[in-house]
């Protein structure tokens, strides 16, 4: 219901058969946790595990549209299986290198001084590690146990083979990871919105459904609108990734906008959703927390909301182009005040 009324996801770009398949598979194994193992095996079997990947890593050569469709569907099913990171970030980095790649569930990890510990889903097999060497960025694709050892001992085993990575690929990987999170947040927002609408339409208090109370209507309308706005911003960023996924200058502003909108929107949706669903929604047994919890976690991974706001401002001040709409207008007919066309 919500999905049909939100802004386009670019869904028309995805084959209906593939969309149905994605919906069926993710819905059949929703709930995360132990369902993820079956889900991952099924995705692999169906060729959905590396949608945008090269054939070398068992990929299907699809675009960001198809990948976004899958990532959002997984998020709606409350699965934290990092398929997006595996395909669009770690896998993509490896595709830019001319080495053999074994198909695997991967995450990407930046091992620098400020790095947080990697988020290691139990099914992750390999980690694509990036770090800054004296010569520039380097990368190694290692088994997950090597990372655990590194976190324990504080150093890398000397057997790890580091390869040089172009600075541009390293920077793009950050932006791509940020976009994957935005898509996930949108999926979680949509799932939460659906739960809220269902609850408010059916749960009766004082003799009528909650949705008949104007105060509740205001909460529901606003959270649904935030979800639609987040989707519009993220869909626009995905569209940019489809046509210019390797162009940092074009992709970065669009992704920063998406991260700002999804980040702030998630806060509104999480708070209002719990307010509408009431105490029952705060229990472990209820599905709502899986979505609200996930959206708040995801919005603070691979970047964060406050930094996204700052980045949008910095880019705007530098005269970056965010879309075909330019909000930085000449205020006076002074030629030196004119910006790029």
């Amino acid at each position: 219901m919500i999905r049909s009324t939100s802004a386009s996801w670019g869904a028309e770009a995805v084959e209906p058969d593939l969309r149905d398949l994605i919906t069926a598979v993710t819905a059949a194994h929703s709930g995360g946790g132990d369902q993820d193992a079956v889900l991952w095996a099924t995705l692999r079997e169906l060729g959905l595990s590396d949608l945008t990947g090269s054939q070398a890593r068992g990929g299907s050569g699809a675009s960001w549209w198809e990948a976004a469709e899958l990532i959002a569907a997984l998020a709606r099913s409350a699965s934290e299986l990092p398929v997006g990171d595996s395909d669009l970030v770690a896998g993509w980095i490896l595709d830019t290198l001319s080495t053999d790649v074994v198909p695997a569930l991967r995450v990407c990890w930046w091992d620098d001084d400020s790095a947080r510990r990697p988020d290691l889903h139990p099914l992750v097999e390999r980690v694509t590690v990036l770090r800054e060497d004296t010569s520039g960025p380097v990368v190694a694709d290692v088994a997950v146990d090597e990372v655990r050892a590194r976190l324990g001992s504080g150093g890398w085993d000397s057997s790890v083979e580091w390869q040089p990575l172009s600075a541009e690929v390293a920077e793009l990987a950050v932006v791509r990871a940020a976009l994957v999170r935005a898509v996930q947040v949108v999926g979680a927002m949509e799932a939460a919105t659906e739960i809220v609408v269902e609850h408010a339409a059916t749960r009766e208090q004082f003799g009528r459904p909650l949705l008949r109370f104007q105060a509740v209507q205001a909460l529901v309308a606003d959270l649904a609108a935030e979800t639609a706005l987040a989707r519009a911003a993220t869909a626009a960023a995905v569209a940019v990734a489809v046509r210019a996924g390797d162009d940092l200058e074009v992709l970065q502003p669009a992704v920063a906008v998406a991260r700002s909108c999804t980040g702030h929107g998630a806060a509104v949706v999480a708070r209002s959703a719990h307010q509408v669903v009431g105490a029952i929604g705060t229990t472990q047994e209820h599905a709502l927390h899986r979505h609200t919890g996930a959206m708040l976690r995801w919005r603070s991974q691979a970047g964060d909301t406050h930094s996204a706001d700052q980045q949008v401002l910095a880019l705007a001040l530098a005269g970056a182009s965010f879309s075909d709409l330019d909000l930085d207008q000449p205020l006076k007919p002074d030629p030196s005040n004119r910006r790029k066309s």
């Binding site: 802004a7 609408v197 309308a221 609108a225 626009a236 910095a314 909000l327 207008q329 000449p330």
Partner: protein
């Protein structure tokens, strides 16, 4: 940019059109024909500017060529609208005739009415006001009391309309009036009329805004004779006709770009060191960009002839709230700035006075939230 994100849309052509509008604006600006100001689509009336736009084919541009229009799509109109809004250009004169009167006439008007009025609308030589609200009917539009009584060769209208923007300057007003049934029959028995504002029995008096500006009017209709050919559409179908066009009114870029000029002012102030960079400005730029995408998506849906009431209402609640946030940020930042900027102060003064209207006009946010929740129900 070889692949298109939206199949069936010529994005290159839209970008070219955008460039043409920017050149036009830059040219007008350099010739000093206008000073950019916030909320100019409601407050800055310039028949000359409207005619200059009409000469380019940008007024009534979606009307078919046989009626003097340019036969362009709603997406092309969207592009032109965005560009004049962010520039703060004086487009109030043709705003209503371009946004509402033209499309309504095209859809519901008789052949005679279309031949008479549409070419003049597209030429920027015929401006409209809308008479819907009444003293006793604010948000509750269906409770209109203005009465139209049939007479030999037409109708006699009597009643009072309020908040009619630009009625003191416009040529015609579209009036929603009761043609049958009684007050309280709600949506039944209402009809739309095209009333010439220089007709006998019309008295226009200003409703002065709190800052002393005059944009709104009260229009008294005292037994105004309206020829039968001026009935717009079908008798008794007025309510359906009005509501069928509301999505266009609600989802347009004027619902989030009214004060976009403040972004340009604030960015310029940060660049010259008069204001410190604050993340909140980044958040608002991001939101405006997202609203641009969302509003464009609604325009696409409407252009394809599909309904979009819920997303249109969402664009308006989100957009007008964001406009308010932007005015608030500008107020907070300029208050603590040690370096004065007369232009920013002037823009902020206008924006502050207009601010309460953002979430009221075209359907209050409270009404819209009701529409959204109703549309979301399973």
């Amino acid at each position: 940019m070889t692949t298109t994100a939206h199949p069936g849309i010529d994005e290159r052509a839209l970008l070219e059109l955008r460039g043409e509008v920017r050149d036009f604006i830059a040219d007008q600006l350099s010739r000093g024909t206008f000073t950019p100001r916030p909320d100019a689509w409601l407050t800055a009336w310039s028949a000359d500017f409207s005619r200059a736009m009409a000469e380019r084919g940008w007024v009534g541009m979606t009307l078919p060529p046989e009626y003097g229009g340019a036969g362009r799509s709603f997406l092309e109109r969207f592009v032109v609208t965005e560009e004049v809004l962010v520039a703060g250009a004086p487009v109030a004169a043709h705003w209503v005739s371009d946004r509402q009167a033209g499309p309504s006439l095209l859809r519901f008007g008789s052949e005679e009415l279309k031949r008479e009025l549409l070419p003049r609308i597209a030429a920027g030589r015929c401006f409209f006001a809308i008479g819907m609200s009444e003293p006793d009917a604010g948000s509750d539009l269906a409770s209109v009391r203005t009465k139209a009584t049939a007479c030999d060769d037409g109708w006699v209208l009597s009643g009072t309309k309020v908040w009619t923007t630009g009625a003191h300057r416009a040529d015609h007003m579209i009036v929603l009036a009761r043609t049958s049934g009684r007050h309280g029959d709600r949506h039944q028995g209402l009809s739309q009329f095209i009333v010439a504002l220089d007709a006998l029995g019309i008295r226009v008096s200003p409703i002065v805004s709190m800052n002393g500006d005059h944009h709104f009017n009260e229009v008294l209709l005292d037994d105004v004779h309206v020829p039968s050919g001026r009935l717009l559409g079908t008798e008794g179908e007025g309510w359906r006709q009005v509501t069928s066009e509301l999505a266009f009114e609600r989802s347009g870029p004027e619902r989030f770009l009214s004060v976009a000029l403040l972004v340009s002012h604030l960015l310029a102030a940060v660049r010259r060191g008069a204001l410190s960079p604050t993340a909140e400005l980044g958040r608002l730029v991001a939101r405006l960009q997202a609203l641009h995408h969302m509003s464009f998506a609604v325009a696409r849906t409407l252009d394809a002839g599909s309904p979009a009431d819920v997303p249109a209402a969402m664009v308006k609640t989100l957009g007008t709230t964001t406009e308010g946030d932007l005015v608030e940020l500008a107020a907070l930042l300029t208050a603590c700035s040690t370096r004065h900027d007369d232009d920013l102060d002037a823009a902020l003064r206008i924006a502050t006075a207009q601010l309460p209207g953002f979430t009221l006009r075209g359907g209050t946010n409270e009404i819209l939230r009701g529409i959204i929740t109703k549309g979301l129900q399973p």
